[in-house]
């Protein structure tokens, strides 16, 4: 890290001390032109990824999947089955890589931990009164600690959108700092819930806020509101992590979540990563997909590439 980034980093770390400083900084970030951002994302969506590039992209995408179930109806049996799938997504093909992580509610973490132990597949847990985040701070922190204690090594927290939209940036910042502390060694993914932030300017500000407060990942969505991950939102977030690393030397990961269902979708995201932030982020440590049904489509396309024929859905496990 150069001397300038070190000093910039310490200057930026001071911002969280005052509401005014945070506001001045966040409102001073360059704006995002909606039409231009959407046009760029759409243009990258026309890239044609075929043959060897497609095979490479599919395996990478599988390794980046946070295989997720976040339902009231989740049971130990259900999440164990999901964890088994995470380890061996395609039982018929041992060359198929395992996914990046399994993502569940805190109460389900112990059952998943039994299955994943020692496998290299991460165990993510949502926390902080997911998905609304509308609970007292102590409860959110207790939620986080419980998840870590049960074996989660990644925490997916939600930001306080109410405070963010009301302009109480310091409150949002402080909550992230506190959650980061409660997470201990676990990686902290900060869910911005971009569908509720509505504008790209807000997405950029919330991204910076989360990074300034120490988030290891910024994530688009809970999957529980109508608007989930989109390409332009992810583009704006990728630009933010790129600029943040340039300013501070610290690299932050990005996780689009919700609505990514097909291999075609996933490849569009990988192209976006490749041409916005480059190969440094093309790794499961720095880019993840929050998804469930995506995995089977990736497996189906993978089989198609290796065997030349499409197999029916019954050849892929349902969990």
């Amino acid at each position: 890290m150069t001397a300038t980034t070190t000093s910039a980093r310490s200057e930026l770390s001071e911002l969280g001390r005052s509401e005014t400083a945070l506001r001045t900084f966040l409102h001073g970030l360059p704006g995002v032109d909606q039409v231009g951002a959407e046009q760029r994302a759409a243009q990258l969506g026309t890239r044609s990824i075929k043959t060897t590039a497609k095979a490479q992209a599919i395996d990478l995408a599988i390794r980046m999947v946070d295989l997720t179930t976040l339902e009231g109806a989740d049971t130990p049996g259900k999440v164990r089955a999901l964890a088994a799938k995470a380890l061996r997504p395609d039982p018929a093909d041992p060359s198929c890589p395992h996914v990046g992580a399994v993502c569940v509610y805190p109460a389900m973490v112990p059952y998943v931990a039994e299955v994943l132990r020692g496998s290299g597949v991460h165990l993510a847990s949502v926390a902080t009164a997911f998905p609304s985040g509308q609970a007292p701070l102590e409860i959110k922190l207790a939620d986080t600690r419980a998840a870590v204690a049960a074996g989660a090594d990644e925490i997916d927290m939600v930001i306080n959108r109410g405070a963010f939209l009301a302009g109480r940036y310091k409150e949002v910042y402080d909550e992230i700092v506190a959650t980061k502390e409660a997470s201990g060694d676990a990686h902290l993914k900060v869910i911005l819930e971009t569908g509720e932030l509505a504008t790209y300017d807000n997405v950029r500000r919330a991204s910076w806020l989360a990074m300034l407060a120490g988030g290891d990942f910024i994530k688009t969505s809970t999957g529980k509101v109508p608007i989930t991950a989109t390409l332009p939102v992810t583009l704006v977030m990728l630009e933010a992590v790129r600029d943040f690393r340039e300013a501070t030397g610290r690299q932050v990961g990005v996780k689009p979540a919700g609505g990514i269902k097909t291999t075609k979708d996933a490849i569009k995201y990988l192209v976006l990563v490749n041409e916005t932030v480059g190969t440094d982020w093309l790794d499961p440590d720095w880019f993840r997909f929050g998804a469930s049904s995506l995995l089977n489509d990736l497996l189906m396309q993978r089989t198609k590439l290796t065997t030349g024929t499409y197999s029916g859905p019954d050849y892929f496990t349902l969990d």
């Binding site: 360059p30 995002v32 026309t46 044609s48 043959t51 060897t52 490749n274 093309l282």
Partner: protein, 476 residues
């Protein structure tokens, strides 16, 4: 690493003939003198086809055919019936758009992504748009009974071969004129395929005539006494010569000539999108765009940051095979144009501007020029004044809005300009003061058939597109 595998669009959709005649009076005919020239693929220098070269007697035949069609068929035809033909042509263009896009990329060198996603959709849109006007001319704001002019001589450039054809032919036909069109000699093929589409649409013979050839053919056409209207898109030098030859005749004239547009970036601009706009402004279509944003005026207090982002973005540009669906920048259209770009770029270096290109491998054969920017450019440099018509951007700085306006206007041209700022009031203030026919705000190189397009000063006169574009083809 994530390397994109080659993704070539198939050439097999195009049925290239070894040679093409002239399209006169509804049929392909041989030229009287039997002369021809070769059309090559600028990406490989492979010969695509032999093209007939029209001489004075061929032009005479074409103008006579156009006159007859105007007097007997097209002029008297009710607007609603002309519209049917134009709609039919528009639909055929859509149906055959893949074929046309591949042929355009083969002959011109532009990336298939652009011919497929920009050129062809706009070509069809122009015919659809003007088809709609054909039976509504009395409501176009030019009085109760606007009349067509007669026979239009149209000479178009090589940068958007089919799109420029559409800009010329669609309004002319909608207004009731007949045309003789000469495509540029390096890019005749899509115009000849368009001639086949006219046959397929049963367009009456003589309404559209296409004569291929170089400068002499063009001169014979615009100087022909049987022509009532001349429309030209191309260089300012040729435009001047045409204006001289037409002076003192009854011919009406519209000219769409060169440009040296300023793309102006203020310190409150949405930087990431502005950088996209800069790239799109100058590297779209290899910079072979008359309205290209070839002068970047960037506010000095953000210049370093913008340039750094721009260079990073330029390193992502994929230069190469125009038919590869992932190519961003294709081939330079001709050896002559490549020579011109090289000469002016060398002048830029010689005059002390700092030259930069991203590392990029260029193919061995064909005509190629890496995306290039010059920094430290001043108004006194040739690269800040002359139209390069290639992927070369000159970067200048300014301090205040007034200085930006002054520098932007300090050019003999006045075709287009771009403004990047988050401040709406500044956009309006600037747009009022910029002497440019088109001013884009927080975007660049946006085209639409409903929007008039044309220049100030040495960028020409007359408007194409929109309701205004009809005026050039009506006696009003």
């Amino acid at each position: 690493m994530f390397e994109y595998a080659p993704a070539p669009e198939s050439r097999s959709v195009v049925d290239l003939k070894p040679s093409y005649g002239l399209f006169i009076d509804g049929a392909f005919v041989d030229p009287t003198d039997g002369d021809s020239f070769k059309s090559i693929n600028p990406a490989s220098e492979e010969v695509l086809a032999e093209i007939a070269e029209a001489g004075a007697s061929d032009v005479e035949r074409a103008v006579r055919a156009a006159r007859k069609a105007y007097d007997k068929v097209w002029g008297p035809m009710p607007g609603r019936d002309r519209a049917k033909y134009l709609y039919r042509i528009a639909r055929l263009i859509q149906e055959r758009s893949r074929e046309l896009a591949v042929l355009e990329s083969l002959d011109n060198g532009k990336p298939i992504r652009e011919s497929r996603d920009v050129d062809l959709p706009l070509v069809a849109a122009h015919f659809f748009y003007y088809a709609g006007w054909a039976d509504k001319l009395e409501h176009a704001g030019f009085g109760g009974n606007p009349r067509p002019i007669g026979v239009a001589a149209q000479v178009i450039p090589w940068n958007f071969p089919l799109l420029m054809l559409a800009w010329k032919i669609a309004p002319a036909l909608a207004a009731g004129n007949t045309v003789v069109l000469k495509p540029a000699e390096t890019t005749s093929l899509t115009a000849l395929l368009f001639a086949e589409i006219c046959q397929q649409a049963d367009l009456p013979p003589g309404v559209v005539n296409i004569v291929t050839g170089a400068g002499d053919t063009g001169r014979a056409l615009v100087e022909h006494p049987g022509v009532d209207k001349v429309a030209f898109t191309g260089s300012t030098d040729v435009g001047r010569a045409i204006a001289r030859s037409v002076a003192g005749t009854r011919k009406k004239l519209t000219l769409e000539l060169g440009g040296k547009a300023a793309n102006i970036v203020f310190d409150d601009a949405p930087i990431d999108q502005a950088v996209e706009g800069i790239v799109n402004g100058i590297f779209f279509n290899q910079g072979h765009v008359c309205c290209a944003g070839s002068r970047l005026l960037v506010q000095e207090n953000v210049a370093d940051r913008v340039l750094e982002s721009l260079k990073r973005r330029m390193a992502q540009l994929r230069v190469g095979d125009p038919l590869d669906k992932n190519t961003d920048v294709g081939a330079i259209n001709s050896a002559a144009q490549l020579e011109r770009i090289r000469e002016l770029s060398d002048a830029g270096s010689a005059e002390g501007a700092e030259r930069w290109s991203p590392p990029c491998e260029l193919p061995d054969r064909g005509f190629w020029f890496a995306p290039t920017i010059f920094t430290g450019v001043t108004q006194a440099h040739r690269i800040a004044r002359e139209e390069i018509f290639g992927p070369v951007l000159s970067v200048l700085t300014f301090r205040t809005p007034a200085e930006a306006v002054e520098k932007a206007n300090n050019t003999p041209y006045g075709l287009s300009a771009g403004i990047w700022t988050d401040k709406g009031s500044r956009i309006l203030w600037m747009a009022d003061r910029l002497r440019a026919g088109v001013v884009w705000a927080n975007t660049f190189n946006k085209f639409d058939p409903t929007s008039p397009f044309g220049g100030y000063k040495e960028s020409g006169y007359g408007r194409e597109g929109g309701r205004h574009g009809l005026e050039a083809y009506l006696n009003v």
